[in-house]
């Protein structure tokens, strides 16, 4: 016979299990890993893309007369067999020499379209190799490429004496922007991840202390929802202000060169960027919180709220995945999609601010986000009215008399 204690415990367990499993929320909870796998693929891709964003875009350039291009290409192909996938050097780009190759080479480093790690110009037996800081290997590779090309054309013993020069850039690099873009996306994601989840329980609290009937009787539900959203946002803003101030003052406390690294993260839109970043944080927060508020309002128990937190986190990661992929690949269709999908848009647009100088898309984006905050809240209020306050009719005869 079953011990009394166990039987009692099983009675409780049985109720709890059915109470958990027999809810629609559990289905969402159960299936959320599926969503995670789907979006996680994007997220994984994007993480990879973002970290390799700089390297992938880098190129090495050889400025040589068209006659030598084929020989250079052949030599490059042969030399590349040395590299494994991980140690591969940036791809080779060949350019025709202009009137002043030295100047031409120098300007390549400030180009917006390509990002040169190293540039070779001049005769192959006495080439000059310009390389950016940290691109020693790329420079030597170009020198080796010159020797290899010469030996293929002339005699195996031919020598080449390269001259190396390190170049300091004037303009921010494209990959520097890519990093700034990724950094902004990540910052917004991190802050919204920490803060917007709080909105889930807001309406549940009202329902458990039964104030909702008073609120619903006195003011429109839309106002209740928007008020909840603003209230949560206020506390989020305090949080951000506190940590923002702390972090903003951090560079002063850090050793000098660390501060230099922070300031080297450069952006395309210029000094307005911090404002845009704050604006997009606000929008990201409002949009995501509005969704969570609405979803949380439909949950009837604390248990359901807890179960919702997993799908919610996954949703946030998915949006971040899209946006960070967009940060690494500003021209891709995923980027366009991430900028249009309202819930990833703030993060993707912050990345865009780092990547592209145009300002008008941001004005458009803010209007778009505000519209979606309104749409989300309206839908949330409707669902709440029907599902929880039991209003709305089963058939569509509502307001026929009004």
């Amino acid at each position: 016979m079953m011990p009394r204690f166990l039987r009692q415990a099983l009675t409780i367990a049985r109720r709890d299990l059915t109470a958990t499993v027999m809810t629609p929320t559990f289905l969402l909870f159960l299936l959320s890993p599926l969503l995670m796998i789907g979006f996680g693929v994007i997220g994984g891709l994007s993480g990879q893309a973002a970290s390799s964003a700089g390297e992938a875009r880098q190129q090495i350039v050889a400025i040589a007369p068209p006659g030598q291009h084929d020989a250079l290409r052949t030599a490059d192909r042969e030399l590349r067999s040395v590299f494994t996938r991980d140690s591969a050097r940036p791809g080779l780009r060949l350019e025709k020499p202009e009137a002043e190759p030295a100047r031409q080479a120098r300007t390549l480093f400030d180009s917006d379209t390509i990002e040169a790690a190293a540039v070779l110009y001049g005769p192959l037996d006495h080439p000059t190799v310009l390389r950016s800081a940290g691109a020693e290997a790329e420079g030597r590779y170009l020198a080796a490429l010159a020797v290899q090309t010469l030996r293929a054309e002339h005699a195996p013993g031919t020598r080449s004496t390269p001259r190396f020069e390190t170049v300091i850039r004037d303009a921010p690099t494209v990959s520097g922007r890519g990093q700034a873009a990724y950094f902004s996306t990540f910052a917004i994601f991190l802050v919204t991840l920490m803060l917007s989840g709080q909105a889930v329980g807001a309406m549940a609290e009202e329902r458990s202390n039964k104030v909702i009937e008073i609120l619903a009787a006195a003011v429109p539900l839309e106002s209740v929802f928007f008020g909840k959203l603003l209230g949560a946002f206020g506390s989020a803003l305090l949080f951000v202000a506190f940590w923002g101030t702390l972090i903003a003052n951090l560079p002063r406390l850090l050793p000098g060169d660390a501060a230099g690294v922070l300031s080297s993260l450069s952006v395309a839109v210029g000094p307005i960027f911090p404002l845009l970043l704050i604006g997009y944080f606000v929008m990201a927060y409002l949009l995501q919180s509005a969704v969570f508020l609405g979803v949380g309002a439909l949950a009837s128990t604390q248990r359901e709220i807890q179960m919702l937190s997993l799908p919610i986190t996954i949703f946030q990661f998915a949006m971040f995945g899209m946006a960070s992929y967009a940060a690494g690949n500003p021209e891709s269709w995923v980027a366009i999609a991430a900028e249009i999908v309202p819930f990833s848009s703030p993060m993707a647009m912050a990345a865009r601010a780092a990547n592209a100088p145009d300002l008008w898309p941001h004005a458009l984006a803010f209007a778009w986000h505000a519209l979606w905050v309104a749409i989300t809240l309206t839908i949330a209020a409707r669902l709440f009215r029907r599902g929880v306050l039991k209003s709305g009719s089963p058939k569509r005869t509502k307001r026929a008399a009004a």
Binding site: N209, E213, I214, V219, S393, K398, A402
Partner: protein, 308 residues
């Protein structure tokens, strides 16, 4: 015709297959205390919520303070829901001011009035206490004060007396009368007849989602015949034969329904038979009995009884 604070006709509300409210109509004249009576689950709360526009009816029309969109008038309405709820961490004064602010009353005015109202209700000492510290009855009074702090034209109270001890029930009755004297219309639901009997100028009895009776309390009581309580001077079993068939002996007295032709003839016969009269009272049955009769009749007849 008297101006109406609330009117509705043909209100229907379905929850799934069940018709919780099935064609309810109501007309509440301004300045009156009006009771909606009915057994548990009769559809009282749903009716009130539809009248207030918290939920939309599936069919029918309603007008609240002259507006066909009840929500537009929400600043002029006070409402005590059946399920009481206050923020446990709020102080009484703040909770009352908050409820006023929801209805458009400035916070400062709300706080000031809250102090006065609490004082008036004998809760002045608790003004700065948190709601969680109050007893259930006290919290309920605070919520009621919160629903009148903005001096609404219409006050809707859903089962306001439930959960209150007799002293607090008395206070609540006073408060309701005070609101009426201020000029407000009060619409409240209850299944406790004693309050309705004392307070209401008109009542509706709802059962099974329909209106079974509408009229004054006296109208309702008049639905039942007069009852007599007779105490003979010399009691004897033989008296039973002389009294109407429904006579019941209670101690030394007899209770019976007064015959259609009046009680005088019966009294003459009793005196002649030498039983004498040492006590006699004739009274209308209470609202309680009338209510049981009205609601009980619902099972037999499906047509509402109306006395206007």
């Amino acid at each position: 015709m008297q101006e109406l604070a609330v009117s509705a006709s043909g209100l229907v509300k379905r929850f799934g297959e069940r018709r919780a409210v099935d064609g309810v109509g109501i007309a509440v004249p301004k300045g009156l205390i009006y009771g909606v009576l009915g057994p548990n689950g009769a559809g009282k709360t749903t009716t009130l919520r539809m009248l207030l526009g918290i939920i939309e009816p599936d069919e029918g029309e309603r007008t609240l303070l002259g507006s066909r969109h009840p929500r537009d008038m929400s600043d002029h309405v006070g409402y005590l829901p059946e399920e009481r709820g206050l923020y446990p961490n709020m102080k009484c004064r703040e909770a009352i001011a908050f409820m006023g602010a929801l209805r458009g009353l400035p916070w400062a005015t709300g706080r000031k009035r809250a102090g006065e109202l609490l004082e008036g209700a004998g809760l002045g000492h608790a003004a700065d206490d948190k709601i969680r510290k109050l007893s259930k009855g006290m919290a309920q009074l605070v919520q009621l004060l919160g629903s009148v702090v903005h001096e609404p034209e219409l006050l809707v109270l859903d089962e306001p007396f439930s959960g209150l001890d007799p002293v607090n029930q008395e206070r609540l009755e006073l408060l309701i009368r005070g609101q009426r004297d201020r000029g407000a219309t009060i619409l409240f639901s209850t299944h406790v007849m004693a309050h309705a009997e004392r307070l209401c100028e008109r009542i509706s009895v709802i059962a099974g989602g329909r209106v079974r009776f509408e009229g004054t309390v006296d109208d309702a009581r008049a639905l039942l015949p007069l009852r007599a309580r007779y105490t003979p001077h010399h009691d004897a079993d033989a008296i039973a034969a002389m009294l109407p068939a429904d006579a019941v002996r209670e101690g030394g007295s007899w209770r019976f329904t007064v015959p259609d032709g009046g009680i005088e003839a019966l009294l003459v016969r009793l005196i002649d038979a030498g039983h004498g009269i040492s006590g006699l009272s004739i009274e209308r049955p209470g609202l309680h009995d009338a209510f049981v009769r009205i609601v009980g009749a619902e099972a037999l007849a499906d047509q509402p009884e109306t006395i206007a």
